[in-house]
């Protein structure tokens, strides 16, 4: 086996040197009746070229990967500079472990510190952690943290938060004391409307902006409402590119900002691995889940970085930890860091602007088709809901089969009853020609 350095000959010598006759004796401590005693029913070893062929054959069946697509809803098509994937393939980065030995892990620790800083800068928050699994689990952890901080149990969550995020949060909280109330959005604007559920038992008001329908929420107003009842204001962001253009949640009064960093140069990869972001205010830092990296000095005064405030974490606190998370999304956080730094201030602004402009162009063109309208009136970033004359599933199926375009997501998948509506996403990677052919095909 080419991944095993020691040859059968060497292994035989080593066995002998520790007084064993054969490899079987290594497993003497396993009772015979639980030993398998037969070969696994798994393929014979494949050659390198055969593995590649098998994988390429499967990949080729993913025909959607090569078609013009307007899918968004939490995973976005953005261009990632070549340096991102090249640099994360430095084996010093991708073949190292969690930096528990700081003297030989400063490379990892320094980029985590840069990631934490960039997340703070973009979200407008004071502290951010080293990453969560993804936006959905980060949202779930926000529910739990809000309960810890406020010692209250009611979570008021907007109906327009990504449905899969709400499902995950429900799973995470099902055995705790949380009471989850869903707040409806306004049929005209698409924004969160009904805040009646907010009361003095409320731990958090949780909203997404731009929300699942692409509508940008009026965060300041919502923050006031939450704070008025002593609840935390939690803002979820699924499209991290929006930070380049839209007012930072932190500047709007958010107490916790969670979300998905996939847009920062991470491949869509059928949904993962992506990277969850989690940011909050300094005063809540000891209630945060996940790893934190901080500045430390050696005895010569050299600056370095270490994992810190670990007393929150499972390996110290065990059942009393703020979360059970251990392995996070380190390498993806690195990719996101490289993306943000390569794009830099100007690039993050320009790419956000291009997304907004192209989406606006597409929305305008589509609204111009008779029988079609933009379902909600609130301002949008790079996604919007289209209401058409037919069932969206039919419309999209026709686009796919007749025109070879993946036109978007039928809202009915998540919002039963909303049959004629579908969610369209337009990023900097959609060319005007592709948008025009979408419009032509709808026509």
């Amino acid at each position: 086996m080419r991944y095993i350095p020691n040859s059968p000959e060497e292994r035989a010598e080593m066995l002998a040197s520790i007084g064993l006759a054969n490899a079987g004796e290594l497993f003497r401590s396993i009772p015979a009746d639980v030993q398998l005693g037969r070969p696994l029913n798994i393929t014979d070893p494949l050659a390198e070229s055969e593995v590649i062929a098998a994988m390429e054959a499967m990949a080729a069946k993913n025909t959607a990967a090569t078609k013009p697509s307007f899918l968004g809803a939490g995973v976005y098509s953005h261009f990632s500079p070549t340096v991102v994937d090249h640099l994360i393939q430095r084996s010093e980065f991708f073949t190292s472990y969690t930096p528990y030995q700081p003297e030989i892990a400063q490379g990892t620790l320094q980029y985590i510190f840069e990631f934490q800083t960039l997340v703070c800068q973009l979200t407008g928050m004071e502290v951010a952690n080293a990453s969560m699994y993804d936006g959905s689990t980060a949202t779930a952890e926000a529910y739990l943290m809000a309960q810890r901080v406020t010692r209250r149990d009611k979570i008021v969550v907007a109906d327009s938060v990504h449905p899969e995020y709400r499902e995950v949060a429900k799973t995470y909280t099902q055995h705790g004391s949380a009471e989850i109330v869903t707040a409806a959005f306004d049929e005209k604007t698409g924004r969160l409307a009904d805040l009646s559920a907010l009361d003095d038992r409320t731990a958090a008001l949780v909203v997404q902006s731009p929300n699942f329908f692409g509508c940008i929420e009026n965060l300041e107003r919502l923050a006031e409402a939450a704070h008025a009842v002593g609840a935390l204001f939690v803002v979820v962001v699924t499209e991290a590119i929006s930070f380049g253009l839209l007012k930072a949640p932190g500047a709007c009064g958010a107490d916790i900002v969670v979300g998905e960093g996939q847009s920062w140069g991470i491949p869509m990869g059928f949904g993962g691995p992506h990277v969850g972001i989690f940011a909050t205010r300094e005063k809540f830092v000891r209630n945060m889940p996940g790893r934190l990296c901080g500045v430390a000095y050696d005895k010569n005064g050299n600056r370095g970085f270490v994992l810190t405030l670990s007393t929150r974490e499972q390996h110290i606190r065990r059942e009393k930890a703020t979360s059970n998370i251990c392995t996070n999304q380190g390498l993806i956080a690195l990719a996101a860091t490289i993306y943000m730094e390569t794009m830099g201030k100007k690039g993050l602004q320009e790419v956000a602007m291009q997304n907004a402009q192209k989406a606006a162009y597409a929305a305008k063109r589509i609204a111009g088709i008779d029988g079609y309208e933009i379902a909600f009136s609130a301002p949008t970033f790079n996604e919007f809901v289209v209401r058409g004359p037919l069932a969206a599933t039919e419309t999209l199926e026709k686009l796919r089969t007749v025109n070879g375009i993946i036109g978007g997501i039928a809202l009915s998948k998540y919002y039963p009853g909303r049959d004629n509506e579908f969610l369209v996403c337009v990023t900097e990677t959609s060319s005007r020609a592709q948008i025009d052919s979408l419009v032509a095909s709808l026509n």
Partner: protein, 507 residues
């Protein structure tokens, strides 16, 4: 000394990117906007007004040099033996990296129509089948992003099963038994599922204390046990069948932490031992790169009885067609958006294909042999806390050395000077000054011997010059960091006033 005067050494003293930033530098270029630009598209009050203050401005060259330089401050598997016990730091195949990047996988949107993502569903399905065969447990969910989430998922399966079986009275079954040697994520995950933890003692041989286990079961209310096998001291729980029987008799279910499956693949299957549910760490046993902290993939596998409760959507097959099935009424629900860390699944399946049945078993044998070899060569010099044979890990305490005033941490740091990553230290807690050494199958005899020689040299140094060891490492860019001070006044982000001055080799 020679290098003392050098205060600017670029590769040694690369600052934070924010300290490199210069107004006007750019590292990107986008195509020109190809639609008419609409002025004030959005109301001013929705727009950012801080001009992304503080976000760096650097060129592509700055970025490449920055990350290349700081990367050289890391130790990695590709540089040598990385014997972190419990972490299974094995070779991360380049082939797996390559196939995970094939456009049809990397460029696929998770909400693409099923008809147009059959290959991805097929891959997940095939991996599910192989993992079921390897563990002997038929129910599989690949949704969990890491081991801890796999644990939470598994424990929730137990909870759901009990709630359905016992109805109301299930609320009297909220005790999860966990050995004192368990990894911290076990109790943490149990707590997230609403269980209270009772701790099982370990015996002098490093095994679960059966009498204590029976006592605890007799106290009642036992929902189940979470144990690791081989356990966290690297020893196989030879009473495994009795453990399972005892728990089952007490009306509870058995959760096995599969983090140490690298000792068992192809040799023994949890399903055949009486285990009800398990998680695997694809980023350990199946070699997906640990990436400096993640990502991982923590599949949860279970018996037929627990299958109905698995997270949805489940990936199923109907004739030649693969599809997502969300209607499993009893499911605990979703634990992650979409389908989990798909990219890790591609790598893991490539690992399985490359090894095949025989290669998987060969890897297990080689991994256990390497650990046993290290244990055998060092046991005269370092205290081996348990009599019984270890499996894929060798464990020592610092007893012999601490007498001389040198502790595990010092030995670990000194190993760095010898070019090795230290083992896992001070875990598990049941062994004083534990050094948990997991060479994995990816280390050849010459490197093993060099490691053994280093450990022996260090023991000699402790006699000759203990301070040399106490002040180690000496060969790194930076010395031991004051972690206590760091936690007292945490600085968790850069700000324009962050002190960069102290980053020179001098000051």
């Amino acid at each position: 000394m020679a290098i003392k005067k050098v205060t600017q050494h670029p590769t040694q003293n690369e600052g934070l990117i924010f300290e490199r930033s210069q107004t006007g530098r750019v590292g990107y270029r986008l195509p020109k906007l190809d639609v008419e630009e609409v002025a004030n598209l959005l109301p001013a009050e929705l727009l950012r007004d801080d001009d992304l203050d503080g976000v760096p401005e650097v060129s592509e060259v700055d970025v490449v040099r920055h990350f290349t330089r700081i990367s050289t401050w890391n130790y990695s598997i590709d540089l040598g033996m990385y014997p972190l016990g419990s972490c299974t730091m094995k070779y991360n195949s380049r082939l797996n990296e390559k196939v995970a990047r094939i456009g049809g996988f990397a460029g696929l949107h998770p909400l693409a129509p099923e008809e147009e993502s059959q290959g991805a569903l097929e891959l997940i399905y095939k991996l599910q089948e192989d993992l079921a065969e390897i563990t002997g447990l038929p129910g599989v969910s690949l949704q969990p992003a890491a081991g801890a989430q796999g644990e939470m998922t598994g424990v929730m399966l137990i909870r759901a099963f009990l709630d359905q079986r016992d109805g109301e009275t299930s609320k009297d079954r909220r005790v999860m038994l966990i050995p004192d040697s368990a990894h911290g994520t076990n109790p943490a995950s149990a707590a997230m599922s609403g269980f209270t933890v009772k701790t099982i003692r370990s015996t002098a041989e490093g095994l679960t204390d059966m009498t204590h286990l029976h006592e605890l079961c007799d106290q009642g209310g036992v929902a189940g046990v979470m144990f690791t096998n081989p356990n966290t001291v690297g020893i196989f729980e030879k009473n495994i069948k009795e453990i399972c029987a005892t728990i089952h008799a007490a009306g509870g279910l058995v959760y096995m932490d599969g983090a140490n499956m690298n000792a068992l693949v192809g040799v023994a299957r949890p399903g055949d031992m009486g285990v009800d549910v398990i998680h695997l760490n694809l980023h350990k046993t199946f070699s997906t790169p640990h990436g400096g902290g993640g990502p991982g993939c923590g599949p949860c596998l279970c018996t037929k009885e627990l299958t109905p409760f698995l997270p949805t959507p489940r990936i199923e097959k109907d004739g030649e067609r693969y599809f997502l099935n969300s209607n499993h009424a009893k499911s605990i629900g979703r634990v992650k958006a979409f389908f989990g860390n798909f990219g890790m699944m591609v790598r893991a399946l490539a690992y399985i294909y490359t090894h095949g049945a025989e290669g998987l078993k060969e890897a297990t044998e080689a991994a256990v042999l390497n650990a046993r070899y290290v244990s055998h060569e060092l046991e005269d010099i370092y205290d081996k806390p348990f009599e019984s044979d270890g499996m894929h890990e060798a464990i020592f305490s610092h007893k012999n050395q601490s007498k001389k005033g040198v502790v595990t941490l010092d030995i670990a740091k000194r190993l760095i000077d010898y070019g090795f990553h230290p083992p896992t230290v001070y875990f598990p807690l049941v062994v004083e000054g534990a050094m948990l050494i997991e060479p994995t199958e990816s280390v050849g005899r010459a490197d093993l011997d060099a490691f053994i020689e280093a450990m022996i040299d260090i023991d000699r140094e402790i006699d000759e010059d203990p301070d040399l060891v106490r002040n180690a490492p000496h060969s790194t860019r930076i010395g031991r960091l004051d972690e206590a001070a760091a936690a007292r006044k945490p600085v968790l982000r850069w700000r324009p006033d962050t002190d960069a001055s102290a980053q020179s080799a001098e000051s």
